[in-house]
Symmetry: D2
Subunit: 361 residues, 4 copies
C-alpha cells in the first residue's frame, strides 16, 4: 500500500510517525510504503521526507490524486482544503485518511461523506483510542455507570493568550473555518457521541477575546442527549493554566468516570455500588493488564505518549479494512460531529435552543 | 447579647457551634448568651438545648420576636419560613442572621431586604470565608489573575441518587421553594458575584431526574459578566462520585485560580507571568502563614474544618457591627443572588437568554 | 470533674478547645469544669483564662497537685517537666492527661507509667483518632491489607529551615530533651505500633543540620516488625516543601493504605483483590457515612480540622473511664513508643542494629 | 553503523524501537542499520526480526563479536551474561551498549569498565533522560534547591506479590545475580549519583518475602552523601499498590523537587524563596516549552511515553560519539552504581555501616 501524505506541519509529523510505527506494534495485513509527501514549501518538504523516509516530494496535491500508484491519501493540511482534496481523492478511488475537523461546514462534510461512501475512510479523531478513553467506553457498555445523568466536557488550552503563538492558520477564518470550535470542540463532541450517544438539542454561545480576530476563541454549550442525560461543554484557547486539558466526566446512577488528557494514562472511576464507606474516586493507571491496547504497546505500568493513539487508530483501521468491516471514526461519524458544530453556530447566532437534526439545506 | 435560634436541625447545630466558639478565636466586642432555641419538636429541642447550652426552649417563633430580652434572631429553618420570620423580627428591631438561600423568590428577598434595612443583618453564605476562598479574592484584587476570561463553577453532590436521603424538606417545593437551585446554586452564585462581579445576562436549563419530584435536581447556566468574562455554572444532586464538590475556576490573562470544597484547605494557583518552564499549577495549603484567618485558628500547616468559616463569618459580623460598618454578605447582597436565580428560572422557562437586571414586578 | 491545665502555649489552646467542645459532640458521663490554668507568665495566663473560660489562674503547678478540688491534671508544658508533674499528680491520685512525647527518656517514662498505674491516664497521641487513621486500623483488622510486607512513615516539616521559627523550647535539649525525635518521630512510632504492631529491632541515624543546636533535626530508621514486615521511618525539620507531612503507607498481600496528614480527611486505599483492570488507588473521603466518628461531628462530605481528633480522644477517654475500661493511648502504651526512641538513640550512637526489648537499666 | 542486538525479550523490543525512532527525532551523524538480532529461541528471534526489521538472526553471540561488519553491540540479555559478552565485544573493538544493571558484582563491573575503556560505551540508565528528571538536574545545578538536606528515593512495584509473574529470570540468582537490588535499586542509585553526587557511607537491609527464592525482594538503605545531605532508599517487588513507582525527592534550603515515574511527564517543585503565602508544591508538566527535549519530541502539553527516554539516550550517545565527547551514563559511571550495591550487600550481611569507597579486592 503506497501512501501519499498531504501536509508537512506538526500533525503530518504525527501521522508519519504512525505510518512508521504501526507495523512494530500491530500485525499488519498490508505493507505500507511512505511514497510521497506533498506541500507547498520545498525545503520543509525535503527535510520532512528525509526525516521520516518519504520516498518522494510533490508540490501539487492534484498530481497525487491522479497517480495510479497511490493507494492511500492522508490529508494533514488546514481545514479549508480538506473538502476539495478529499472529494477529488475519493472520486479517484483512493483510501482516505483525514485530519479533524472533517470540514469547515456541515454541508461540506456531508458532501465529503457522500463522495467517500465507496472508499475506506478514516477521520483522525485520535482520542477515542487513548486506552483510558477506550476503557471508559468499555465500562459504560458494561453498565458500570448505569443510567446516565450528566456529561460534562472541557477542552482548554492557553494558546490564545500568547500573542506569539496565536498567529498561525488556526486563528484565521480563511484557513481554519472556525477557531476553538473546530479545533477543540470537535474533539469533545466526538468523544461525547462515542461515549454518551446523540445530542438532541442545545443552546450555545461563542466568544472572541482577541480584538480583530475573525474566529471564535471560546465556545460554551448546554445540551440534551437522546439517552436522557444533560450535558455541558466548554472549550477555550484562553483557559490560562491549562496546557491541554481535554476532559470529560460522566455521572450515572451506578458510577462516575472522569478523564483528563493532561494525565492521559489515567482514568478516574467511582463505583457507586460499593459499600458506602469504600466508595471513592480511584485513579486507574490504564496501562494494563487487561486494558485496551495493553498488549500492543509496553508492559503494565509503562506509560504511552501522545502519538500512540494515532498508531492505534491506524492499526485498527488497517485491520478493519482487511476484514471488510466499517471503521469508526469515519466520514459519516464526523458528519455527526459537524452537525453539532453547525447547531452550535446557529444557536450562538439566534441565542435560542436548536434541535440537532437532519434538515434540508 | 441574647440570641434566639429558630431551628434545630443540622444547620442549627452548626450555628450553635459558631456561637459557642466565636469568642475562643475572636476578640469579641459583645458577650453572647445562647438564650433560647425554638422549634416544633419538643424532645429534639430539649436535646439540642442540653447539648449546646441554650437556656430555654420555645415552640413558637412569634413569641421570640416580641420578647424584649432577645437581641439577635438566627433563622435556621426551611426556606419558606425565612421571609415571615425575618420580616417580623426586623420590624421588632432584632439583629438578623439568616441561613441561605435568603428566600424562595426574588420578590420575597426584596421584601426581606427592605424590612431589614434598619437592622444589622447577615446571610450565612459561609464559603466566602473559607480561608482559601478569601485568599483567592485577595489574589484577584491584587491583579494576580489579570484580565478575566472565564469563570467556571460546579456544585455537585449525589444526594438525589440515594432514595433514602432524598426525602427531607429540601426535596419539596412547599418547604424549600426550589431544589438544587436554592440549595447549591445560591452558593455558587454568591461566590461568583464576590469573586468576579455582576452577571449581566444568562441562559439556563433546569432538570428533574426523579419522577414526581416537584423541585429541580440540576441546573446549568451560561453567563456573561459585567467585567467582560464569560461563565458557566452547573449544580446537581445527581453528581454521582461527588460528595461536596463546590468548585470554581478563574482563567485570566495573568493567572488561574481553582478551588474545590472537598479539599477546603487548598487553593490551586497558576501564575502565567512566570518563566514558561516554571509555569505550573501550585497547590497552596491556605493554612498560613499570611493567609486569611491564619492567626485566628490553628498554626500554619494545621487544617480547619467545615465549621470554621461559620465562626469566621460570625466573628467578622460582630466586629463590623461594633464598628458600625456594613457587613457582607447581608440581605441586600443576597437579593443579588436571588436576582440571578430568578433570571435562571425565567430563562429555563422561556428557553431564552435573559438580562439580569432590576425590573418592575 | 474539675480540670487543671498546666501550660498556656499553643497546645494548651488545643486542649482547652477539646475541653470546651467535647460535650457538644459526645454524650458525656461527666460534667467538666475548666477550673484552673497554670503557667509562669501571668499576663499570658489571664488572657488564656479569659479566652477559654478557665475560672482561676495559678503560677505554681505544685499548688494544683495538692488541691482536693482538682480531679484531672492536664500536662501541656515542655517535655522535661512532664515527669515531675505527672509523678506528683499521680501520687496525689489525680486523673492524668499528658501531652506527647510522654518523657525525655525511657527510664523517665517507665517511672511515670509506674506512678500512674493506679489512676486513669491518657497521652495525647491525637493522630490515632483522625477518622482516616482509625478507618485504616479498621480495614487492617478486617484483613483488607492481608499479610503485611512494608510499613513506611514520614513526618516532615520545614520549621528548622527558618531561623526565625527555630528558636523556641522545642529546639533546646534542656527543655525538649530531643529534637525531631520526640516531636515528630514519637507520633510516627505511635501510629506504627497501633497499626502494625511491635518493632523488634532497628538501625538508625540522627542528624543535626544547624550549627550549635544540641538536639537532632532529623532521624531515619530501618526496622523489623514482629509481624514479619519491614519498615522505614524518616522525620525531619528540614523537609523543605512539607508543612505537616505526617504520612504512613502499608503494603500487604491484599492491599495498600496510605495517609497524609496534610490531607487529613482522606485515606488512600488500593484493593489488590479486585479484577486487575480495576485495581487502583482510591482516594477515600473519610467523612462518612460509616466511617469512625462520622455521626459525632458533621455530615458526610464535610471536613473536620486539626482539633477534632483531640476532641475524639477526650470523648473516648471519658467514656472509657465511665465504663472502667482501659483507654489507649495510655502511659504504658507511650512507654513502648519511648522504648523505640531509646533504641534509636542507642543505635544512632553505636551505629549498629539494636533489639527493641525490655532491658535492665 | 551496523548494529547487532543480543536479546529478544521485552527490553530488546524497547531498544529496537529506539534504533528505529532515533533518526526521526534527532539529526543523526550516523546512519543506523539494524543488522542482526541474536538469541537462543529461533522462532521468537524471527518474529522479532520481522517485527522490527532486523536483517538477520543469529543464535550465538560469539559469532557476532568476531564479525567485521558489526559496529555496535547492544546487550539486552539476563544480567549474568553482560560481563562475558561486553568484555569479548570490547576486545573486538565494538561500540558497546549494555542494559542495566551493568553487572552482577562490583568486580565484574570493574573488569567490564577496564575492557571497555577504549570503545565508546553506554549503559541504558534511561531515567536520567526523562525530561522531568533532566529538568530536575537543571534546576539543582541552577541552585534552585540550595543547600541539600535530604534525598529520598523509592522504587516499588508489586511484581513479587503475583506468583504468576514472579517466575522469570529476574527472580533467579543464577541469571539475575540479585533481585530488587539490581533490578530497581540500580536505577534509584544512578539517579541519586546523578542528582545528588557521591554516597560516602551507608547501612542497609535486604529481605526476601517468598519462601525458597534466592534473590532479595526488597532492600532498604540509609546513606550519607559527600555533599552533606542524608538519604534513604527503599525498593521492593512487594510494594502492593504501586505499579512502577520510581520516585525521588530532594529537600534543600531553597526548594524541593519530587518525581514519580508513574506520572513521568510531571515534576513537583516547591520554591522556598517565594513569599510565604505563595509557597506551594507546583506540578510542572515537563513537556515544554523550554524543557529538556521539548523540541525533539511533540509540542508543549503533549505527553511522551516510556520509550522516549531510551530514544533520547541513544540520540545523545550518537551525538557525543560524533563529537568525540564522553557520554554519560557509561560503564565507569555504572561501576559507581555497582560500588553502592556492593556496599549494600556488605552492610546487609555485616549489619553495620560501611564506607562506599575504592578498596583492594
Amino acid at each position: 500500500m503506497n501512501i501519499a501524505m498531504i501536509g508537512s506541519g506538526f500533525i503530518a509529523k504525527v501521522h508519519s510517525n504512525a505510518f512508521r510505527q504501526v507495523g512494530h506494534f500491530f500485525d499488519l495485513p498490508y505493507e505500507l510504503q511512505l511514497k510521497v509527501i506533498c506541500g507547498r514549501n520545498r525545503a520543509k518538504l525535503e527535510a520532512a521526507a528525509a526525516q521520516w523516509g518519504w520516498e518522494e516530494v510533490e508540490g501539487d496535491w492534484r498530481a497525487l490524486v491522479s497517480r495510479k500508484d497511490i493507494d492511500i491519501i492522508d490529508i494533514a493540511v488546514p481545514n479549508v482544503l480538506h473538502a476539495p482534496i478529499a472529494i477529488a481523492a475519493a472520486q479517484a478511488g483512493k483510501i482516505l485518511l483525514c485530519e479533524k475537523p472533517l470540514a469547515t461546514s456541515l454541508k461540506e462534510a456531508e458532501n465529503m461523506a457522500t463522495a467517500a461512501s465507496n472508499v475506506p475512510n478514516l477521520v483522525w479523531f485520535n482520542y477515542r483510542r487513548v486506552p483510558a478513553v477506550a476503557f471508559a467506553k468499555q465500562l459504560i457498555d458494561e453498565g458500570r455507570t448505569g443510567e446516565p445523568f450528566h456529561y460534562r466536557a472541557l477542552y482548554l488550552n492557553q494558546s490564545g493568550n500568547d500573542a506569539s503563538k496565536a498567529s498561525g492558520w488556526r486563528y484565521k477564518r480563511s484557513e481554519a473555518g472556525t477557531g476553538a470550535t473546530g479545533d477543540l470542540l470537535s474533539h469533545s463532541i466526538d468523544l461525547a457521541l462515542y461515549l454518551n450517544g446523540p445530542i438532541t438539542e442545545l443552546t450555545a454561545m461563542t466568544h472572541t477575546f482577541a480584538p480583530g480576530r475573525d474566529v471564535d476563541d471560546a465556545a460554551l454549550l448546554l445540551a440534551r442527549f437522546a439517552n436522557g442525560s444533560i450535558g455541558s461543554f466548554e472549550v477555550s484557547r484562553y483557559g490560562v493554566g491549562c496546557q491541554n486539558r481535554n476532559t470529560f466526566e460522566i455521572n450515572g446512577s451506578r458510577g462516575m468516570l472522569r478523564f483528563n488528557l493532561e494525565d492521559m494514562n489515567r482514568l478516574d472511576f467511582y463505583d457507586a455500588t460499593e459499600a458506602s464507606s469504600l466508595q471513592a474516586t480511584r485513579s486507574l493507571m490504564v496501562t494494563g493488564p487487561n486494558h485496551p491496547y495493553w498488549e500492543v504497546f509496553w508492559k503494565p505500568g509503562h506509560a504511552i505518549g501522545y502519538e500512540h493513539p494515532f498508531i492505534a487508530t491506524l492499526g485498527d483501521f488497517l485491520r478493519s479494512m482487511a476484514r471488510n468491516e466499517k471503521f469508526h471514526v469515519n466520514f459519516e461519524d464526523a458528519v455527526e460531529v459537524q452537525r453539532v458544530l453547525d447547531s452550535l453556530e446557529r444557536s450562538a447566532l439566534s441565542r435560542n435552543w436548536v434541535k440537532v437534526e437532519k434538515r434540508p439545506h
